[in-house]
């Protein structure tokens, strides 16, 4: 069963895990001839998720619909090379490392939000203990 309050973080984590994979492939292939660096587009993932509500119950007109993030919306795209090299490889290790670090931080952030939600739920279940 999917708990709506947790679902958005779960989807965000999924997206971050997926992006972590793609970025690690880039760093791993930093010396492979003809390898083209790839990335996932966060904006696109969010847009794709807009069509997919996470199903919170709206009991008032003032309530806003909540949206989650999915992999379906995010396409793997080739990165525009900043410094193309002779062997056809388009990985800039520094760019990829920065993106990797940023993505890991975002993963940790999503994890912290999810952790907070779980704590809140547990507190509610235990009656504020």
């Amino acid at each position: 069963m999917e708990i709506p309050a947790l679902a958005q973080y779960e989807r965000a984590l999924k997206f971050r895990a997926q992006r972590n994979e793609v970025l690690s492939s880039n760093i791993a292939n930093a010396d492979t001839p003809n390898y083209k660096a790839r990335d996932l587009d966060f904006g696109q993932a969010l847009k794709g998720a807009r069509q997919q509500s996470i199903g919170l119950t709206q009991t008032s007109d003032l309530h806003k619909q909540a949206w989650g993030m999915t992999r379906q919306g995010a396409q793997t795209m080739y990165r525009v090379p900043t410094q193309p090299s002779l062997d056809g490889n388009t990985v800039s290790t520094d760019v990829e490392q920065a993106q990797f670090a940023e993505n890991a931080l975002q993963y940790r952030a999503s994890l912290a939000f999810l952790d907070g939600s779980i704590r809140t739920l547990r507190m509610a279940i235990k009656g504020g203990e």
Binding site: L13, K14, A17, Q18, N20, E21, V22, S24, S25, I27, A28, N29, A30, D31, T32, P33, N34, Y35, R38, L40, R71, T76, T93, Q97, F100, A101, A104, Y107, R108, L111, L114, D115, I118, R119, R122
Partner: protein
């Protein structure tokens, strides 16, 4: 769970880079070798990397590294006139290997940097997974 694939990807890259280090070590060790027979001279070796994917659509852009093979360098051998050399041929020439020491040193540094990058990647991903495991505690 997607994060586990990172270990495979980084592992394949580390394997490729350590092989590159081995090849470099072998080249540097043979940097001074000479022979009277051009066929027998040690030629610099280079590994050839390629991207390894099971299925791009299925894996969503996840790709490891594979070593396709090790090729001999086609750079010309150095011909030296050294009639007193025990290996010298009938004309008094010896052939020196085509290993370029500077190139090999650069190769070695590049391989070790790439290797370290992959180790860092594994460490970060391991941290993320461990944090995920301790979720809600």
């Amino acid at each position: 769970m997607g994060l586990f694939n990172v270990f495979d990807v980084a592992g394949s890259a580390m394997n490729a880079q350590s092989l590159r280090m081995n090849v470099t070590a072998s080249n540097l060790a043979n940097a001074g070798s000479v022979s009277g027979d051009p066929e027998k001279v040690y030629r610099a070796k280079q590994p050839v990397f390629s991207t390894f994917t099971q299925s791009l659509a299925e894996q969503g852009g996840v790709a490891g590294v594979r070593v396709d093979g090790i090729v001999d360098s086609g750079a010309p051998l150095q011909l030296r006139y050294q009639p007193d050399h025990p290996e010298a041929d009938a004309d008094g020439n010896v052939y020196a290997t085509n290993v370029n020491t500077v190139e090999e040193m650069v190769n070695m540094m590049s391989a070790s940097r790439s290797y370290k990058n992959n180790v860092e990647m594994i460490n970060t991903t391991k941290d993320l997974l461990l944090q995920t495991l301790s979720l809600g505690r």
